[in-house]
Structure formats: C-alpha cells, structure tokens
Point group: C2
Chain length 523, copies 2
C-alpha cells in the first residue's frame, strides 16, 4: 500500500512526465480530476510539458488526434477515471480509425481504494479496450516509467494507434525510484514485401482496369507524385479512401479524389474496376448497410491486391512500385480553374468557391462539414497548398477539437475548420480552448439547422420522408442556434454571413487576421 | 440476412416501439443516426411515444436519469452505435450509481455488415458492460419484442438499473412477426428479512451509539417519518448517504443531513458511532483515496448491520423496524429559521438564503453545484417542500440534463438547477432542449470560473498549492465564460446577477415565470 506521498519532484507523476518528455511527448491535452492532481502538481516542475486544458474530454482526445496528425508524434491526454475517459472515447474511436498515435493517461483510484467501490469506480480496463489499440494498467511506482515507455511505443509503432495507460493515484503520488526514464522501443514501418511488389507491378501491365486505392502516409506530396507517374505509365486510376487522416493537396500537388460517401455514388465510381491495389487502404465497404445494397462496394469479381498494409512504409512502397513499372516523372494535368466568386445566395458551393480562392497558403483544413462539404474537393484542387484532415471514424464532434490540436501542432499555419452545425454542437467547448490559447483558427459553421445527412439516410435506408415526429429528431431549427452568441460566450470573436459576398468578406478578413474567428454561414 | 425492409408499421422498429409502450415506457430521449432511422420513422406511426431530441448524447442519458428519478419508471434513450453510446456513458455511470431504471436502445450496423468493419463499427457489447446492469443484443426480428421486454424488466426490477439493448439495423428494418408485444416480468422489491429486522431492532435497544444510514426510496416523506420516530424512540441518529438519487425535504418533512463530501468532515461526523445500520445505503467510504487517510470512513471497530439492501422494500423495512422497536409518532424538531435575505456581495451562502426563501412549493432541485452547494442544505431545511436530486456517480455534467429530464417527467413543477460552471460546460447542449421543449427550469450557474473542487483536492492529496502551470489546469478564467451569451445562443433567456439583491430579484422573477431561465451568479 502506497499511501504516503513522495516529495515533490520524486513522485510517480514526475517520473511519468519525465518519461513522456524523454520520448518527445511534450504536449498534454487535459481535463484532470482529483486522481490526477499529482500529475497536475508535477506540471509546475516540468515547464517543458505544454499542458492545454479542454472543458470537456471530447475536446481533449480530438485535439490530441489533430495534434498528432500534424506533428507526426503523439500528444498525451490526461483524463479523470472511467467517466472522463468515456467522454473522450468517441474521438478516441476516430483517432483509432485514423491510426493516430495517442497516449491517454487515465487516472484511477489508488489501487487499495478500488475494492471499496467508491462512486467514481468503474472498470476502466474493459472500457478502454474497444477504442484503444493498447491498454496498460500501471502496476506500481516502479512500473511507471517502463509502462509509460511501452505505451508511447505502442502508440508510435507503425501505423500508430491509441494507447491507454491507467495510472492509479497512489502510484502517481508514491515516492519514485531513481533512474533514467525508460525509452520507447518503436516498431518502424515495414519495407514493402517483394512478392507483393512484384505481383502489383506485374498486374499493372496486363491491361485490366485497375484502381490504386490509398490512404495514410501515401497521401503526402512525394508519394502522390510517385502514384501519379505509376498511373500515367500504366493507365491505372488513383483514389484516396473515403475518409483519410491527412491529405496533402492544392498548389502544385497531385489532385486526388476520394471514394464518395453516398453508397450509390460510390458504387457508380467503383463499378468499372476489375482490380484494386490497396496502399494502406481497406477494400471499400458501405459506411452503413442499406437494404438491398451490397456491403462491399467493389463490383463482383473485382480482384483485390494488397501492395502495402497500414503498418508498411507506404511512401517507400509507391516509390518501389514506380521503379518496378519503370514510371517516369510526368507533368501533372491542368487543374480546372476555380469558378469566379459568387454573389447573392450563400450555399455550400459558393462557400467552397470562396475557400478555394482565399485559402491561405499552407493552411490546414479540418473538415467536419458532413453533407455541406461533400462537394468541396472539386472547388479546392486549385487552392493554395494545404493539408486536409477528415472525420475518419464517423463519430461526429471531432472537427473543432481537431482544429484545436492542429493549431497547437502548427502555430505558424492558418487552420480552417469547416464545421457542420449539428456535429459542432457536440464539442462546442473547443471554442474556449481556441480562445484561451489564441489559436489561429477560422471556423466556418454551416448553419443549416438540421442533421441534413439524416434526411438523406432516412430515404437511403428505405424509411421514406420524415413526418412531424421524425422531423423533430432530425431538425434543430426550433429554436435556432446562434453560433455568434455561443462563440462569444466562450471568448471567440464571431460574425454571421447571410450572402456569398458577405461570407467572402468575412473569410478574407479571417484569413488575414491571427487568432480564432468564427463565421456562422447561414445556408 | 434481413436486407429487405418491412412495410411501414410492420418493421422491427415498430415492434420495439410497441413493446416499450406496452410496458409503459413512453418517453424517449434521443440523438439518432443512420442505423436508427427506422426507429425514427416508426415514431411517425407511434404518437404515444414522446421523443425528445438532445444535441449531444450526454444530455440524452442524463435526461433519462432525471426523468426516471421523478417519474418512477424508465425512459428509453436512442443512441447511435458505439461512439454515440460512449458519449452517453458518463451519465449512464451516474444513473447506474443512482439505481435509475433506464433502457438504452443502441443502434448498430446490420448484423451482416459487421464483419466488414466499416468506420463506425465498434465492440458495443464490451463497451456497454461497465456502465450497464444489463446488456442484450437483439438476435433477430423475432427477438425484438422479447429482448425489449427483458431490457425493461431488468431496468425496472428493484432497485433499478441501466439496461442496454443493442439493435442491429436490419432487425429494425426487417419485416416483423405478428403478435402482441411481450410484457416485462418485473422483480419487485424484496420484503425485509426477518432476521435482519430482529437484529436491527435488538441492536437499537443496547445503548450503543448508532447511526441509521439511508438512501434510495428510504428518503421519501413517509419512510423518513418512520425513521424519525425510530430515532426518537431509540436515540439513534439519522443520515442520508453522501449522494442520493432523490430526497424529499422542506416543508413539514423530516430534516435530514447527509454524510459530508470532504473526507475530514466525514470522518469527524462519523467518528462517534459504534454501530451503523444500513437502509439501502453502502457503508461510507472516501470519495477518493487520500494519502495517510483511511478508505473506510467508519471508526475502527464500528459494527455494520444491514437492515435492507437496495433491492429491498426500504419504506417497508423502516415501517417494520418502527413497529419492532415500538416507535410512536413524535413531533418533529423545530427547524431553524432561514436567515434574512442578504444584500451586497453575492456568495454561495447568500444564494442559498434566497433559494431557501423563494423556492416555489413542490419544486425539484437538481444539484450539481459541487463546491458552491456544499452548505446549501442548512439554508433550505425550512424551504417549501421539494425534491433534491444529486450527482450520484461523481461524473460531472449531469446537472443540466437531469433538470431537463425531471422537467419532462413533472411538467407542473418548477425545476431549479443549481449548476457549477465547470460541470455545466460538459453538457451545455441541454439548454437547447430546455428551450425547444419550453421546460420550466430555472438554472443558477455558480460562476466562479474554476474547478474550485480541484484546488481543494490538490491540497487534500498532499500536492500543495497550484503554481502557474497547474493553475491553468484548474482555472478557466482566461477567457471568462459568458453564460448569458451561451444560453442566448441556445434559445434560453438569461441574465447576470452581481449582487445578493440582484440575484434575489432574478430568482423571484424566475420562480414566478414559466419556461427556462438562466441566472449567471457571479460569485
């Protein structure tokens, strides 16, 4: 029983901080409680650890996701017992689907207190597993450093995952053993398998209609160039999977489309292929099941070849494939010009055109626009170069947190959050963190005052049109949300756009001004 | 494979609705997604089911908790797959600790779609277990009605629990078999055990210093009268446990204190007892472990007798005990008058005095005031009769949802939500539901702009005073939240109180006016 605290600077919590820092984890998104107070106290002794407060745990985990997608390394989160972690779990789910490295530190009761079943006690281990790739409960003060290093290693090993580390309070406050912090033993991305490489190269020569389907680090500028010349040399097509953690696009980069979300559109796009070659991607399946429609989106008989698994070196795989098929550098096709700026009615399309014209160079777009943003890609191929971050796991409420984390990771880049109003409400508390940290985020709220996606899905699953009772589950127009007030209530400057030109004016202003700014786009 | 939908009115979703209604579950708090669209469509055919939309699932589960505490029967919730349920789980945890009956309907992918591991797929069954007393996955269309009845039975059987029913989409849309909806087989509260009754009665005669510690339905007006006369006849003391789902108090009711939250106060109160008799309550333990302090709050050697378990008939047990000890009805002690209304500085104490004076008769107080409300009881013993609902599981963010649900259950009673600002932010979306449903709730926000409890806990666990880094994890004063704007953004009228008399004026106004009204009390 460790019920006496160590001296400041020598507690398990200090060792945990030191081990994170020794492994280059130096940002912690947090919403602590009593069981994490020693970790919080340790922060005063660890100025190298940047701790960012979120006023709800969904903000915390979503921000850690956005941070890691842009920083290429994990943030820690600090969460309070089972319920605090539960609040973080929807965005842990999204992060898991994005293969995002993340180290959740979840405080629990002191180990000897657990049998008393105090009110906040819950089975954290069981709870953590469905949304974590790795779960570890710290077994004692001497285990703090090795367990932390193991968690970091699990999080960062290719392709990356969500790692959950449970810290009983007495091992946080207990006197820590001396010694250097443990180092994480990472598993690096695997080099592409030679047989798979040969099979893919050979297949690309046989004239079958082939799709190369990519995700993960295959979607960065250089591997996209490789993919482009493979396509030019072999006649294969290229697509990103439907949802991707991060896609480099705009400027002079390869213009890449993605598998559409609506099942009929996806089936239409994919029906021509006789073969799909997977580069880190999964064979496409329906986001949901729909009566009378298939679960697999590939046509019957379509051959599936895997060039590289998510844990493989995807850029290396594409580079090797380009060499194997003798692909030469080729010029990129001309990208269609962005249509002229519109005036009058504000629509998702006129917003997309404005963003296409005025997106600051090297911006980061965090896209949780859901229905409103489905058509954004074609208006922004020709925009300045940028990163595009998507909702990867379908759990809404990631957008504002994602933007928060991306802005912490990249303080010199403008972040643009394209945010549906329904999903934005889930984690609206992120606005406060943006204000506190003075993050350079322009938030565009698509204010259609409904779960627009669900009106479509209601038809899609064969349930018809919404009547009065159903409509009250899909629309939130009574009363209307006022995002300018909500943002103001959390310290974020905001304004409303009612017309296309009004939106353009506000977006240009936001693009040029540092700090958080919210535009409520009335569509 | 059930991939063809039934006709409207004959789907599994219709049967689920019908079975809920046949078992008197006629309110559903919901935030649906695609997998629940057939349930939503069925609502148009089931006007008897009142469906209430929450803009975040924590609102949904917390409202179901508040509803059931006041209605004495469960509400259903409608949640979208694993992440939607995860968002509901913190308040499911609180409900589980309150022994609240609740039936969660969690939509999942069509059963045949699950092996494809689409983005929103997660292990809902595992996820549900830690925060549910009962978990059931519907096995087919023909299983919808029996599984639903089983879930309702599990939820409602004494003492009540959280029941989670997983509904694969194809069993919601599949053609349903004919037949009457299944009826839930409830397990009624058990009659008090005769041996326990005799042991308690005998113990109460031996002169040892005894505490009768109660919770659950023991805290209603009539059993409290019984407890009071037992105390008067035997010299035993009475206390409610630290957190309770519902306590009837005020007016001419027995004035009952509860075990204090701060461990030193709790130890001080409990140290005199040689024996504790439990009536539905658990032997008191520390809310957290604190270095050098015990987990059990009872003095060493204190005898623990259980008169009644939570699943027993607690009012019956107290009635039987009163008879066994020959306790006669006795007048209640005079309650100290509420101090005069204050003016000047606004403090938790002056707010408590105002509430004590002006609480409308038969009000429902939902208390998530955390530190600010610790001293509220002594100022409100003399208030008009009311119910007092507490945070039972320590997972913050229950207050506004609880008030929402209580107001739906009791449309003719004023609900007063005493809400700390930090916890209020967790589920601020509940304000919108209050506005949409025009619920008669007066919300008092204790705006101290910090997790005040954590400043105390930091010291309590021996971690000292907060330095600059630690303070930024505990305080959210930069920027300040503006609750008047946040409420306005969600359609709730609001005003700020800066002085005691300003608060009194606003509270009196809210007490007399129907509909949601928020007072930001600057303390």
């Amino acid at each position: 029983m460790t019920d006496q605290p160590g001296n400041p600077g020598e507690t398990g919590a200090d060792v945990l901080c030191d081990t994170l820092l020794a492994n280059d984890v130096d940002v912690c998104f947090a919403n602590p409680g009593t069981s994490e107070m020693h970790f919080v106290a340790a922060l005063d002794r660890k100025p190298a650890m940047r701790c960012v407060l979120g006023l709800f745990e969904g903000v915390v985990s979503g921000a850690a996701d956005g941070y890691a997608r842009m920083a290429g390394k994990p943030a820690a989160t600090l969460l309070h017992t089972g319920p605090g972690m539960a609040n973080a779990m929807a965005n842990m789910h999204n992060a898991r689907r994005a293969n995002t490295p993340m180290v959740n530190v979840v405080g629990d009761h002191a180990s000897y207190h657990l049998p008393y079943d105090a009110a906040l006690t819950s089975d954290i281990d069981t709870l953590a597993r469905p949304m974590s790739g790795h779960v570890r409960r710290i077994a004692g003060v001497e285990d703090v450093s090795p367990a932390t290093a193991e968690s970091v290693a699990a999080a960062m090993s290719a392709p990356g995952t969500v790692s959950t580390l449970i810290l009983p309070a007495n091992f946080a406050w207990g006197a820590a053993p001396q010694g250097a912090p443990a180092k994480a033993q990472l598993r690096a991305p695997t080099r592409v398998d030679e047989d798979r490489l040969a099979a893919a190269a050979s297949a690309l020569r046989d004239g079958k209609k082939t799709l190369i389907l990519m995700t993960g680090t295959a979607l960065r500028e250089a591997p996209l160039e490789d993919a482009h010349r493979i396509a030019a040399a072999t006649g294969a097509d290229l697509l990103a999977q439907q949802a991707n953690a991060r896609l480099e696009r705009g400027g002079s980069r390869v213009a890449l489309n993605r598998v559409p979300y609506p099942i009929d559109q996806a089936l239409e796009v994919l029906k021509v292929y006789e073969r799909v070659i997977l580069v880190g991607a999964k064979a496409p399946v329906g986001f949901f099941a729909y009566p009378g429609k298939p679960s697999s989106l590939l046509p019957e008989g379509c051959e599936i070849l895997t060039l590289a698994d998510p844990s493989d070196d995807l850029p290396g795989a594409l580079d090797a494939l380009a060499q194997a098929v003798g692909a030469k550098p080729v010029p990129k096709p001309q990208i269609a010009a962005i249509p002229d700026l519109a005036s009058g009615k504000l629509t998702p399309e006129t917003i997309a055109i404005t963003v296409g014209h005025h997106l600051p160079d090297n911006a980061i777009v965090c896209d949780e626009s859901v229905t409103s943003g489905r058509d954004f890609f074609r208006f922004t191929y020709g925009a300045a170069s940028h990163d595009w971050l998507q909702l990867t796991g379908g759990a809404i409420g990631v957008g504002l947190p994602l933007a928060t984390g991306a802005a912490i990771a990249c303080p010199d880049r403008k972040v643009v959050a394209l945010q549906a109003d329904g999903s934005g409400m889930y984690t609206n508390q992120a606005l406060w963190t943006m204000a506190r940290e003075n993050l350079d985020v322009c938030i565009v709220i698509f204010a259609n005052r409904r779960y627009a996606i669900l009106h479509g899905e209601l038809k899609g699953v064969g349930a018809g049109e919404a009547g009065e009772n159903a409509r009250r589950m899909l629309d939130f127009d009574e009363p209307s949300l006022d995002w300018v007030k909500i943002a103001g209530g959390m310290g974020v400057e905001a304004a409303r756009a009612e017309t296309a030109e009004g939106f353009t004016e506000l977006f240009k202003r936001a693009a040029k001004t540092r700090g958080p700014f919210l535009i409520e786009a009335m569509i």
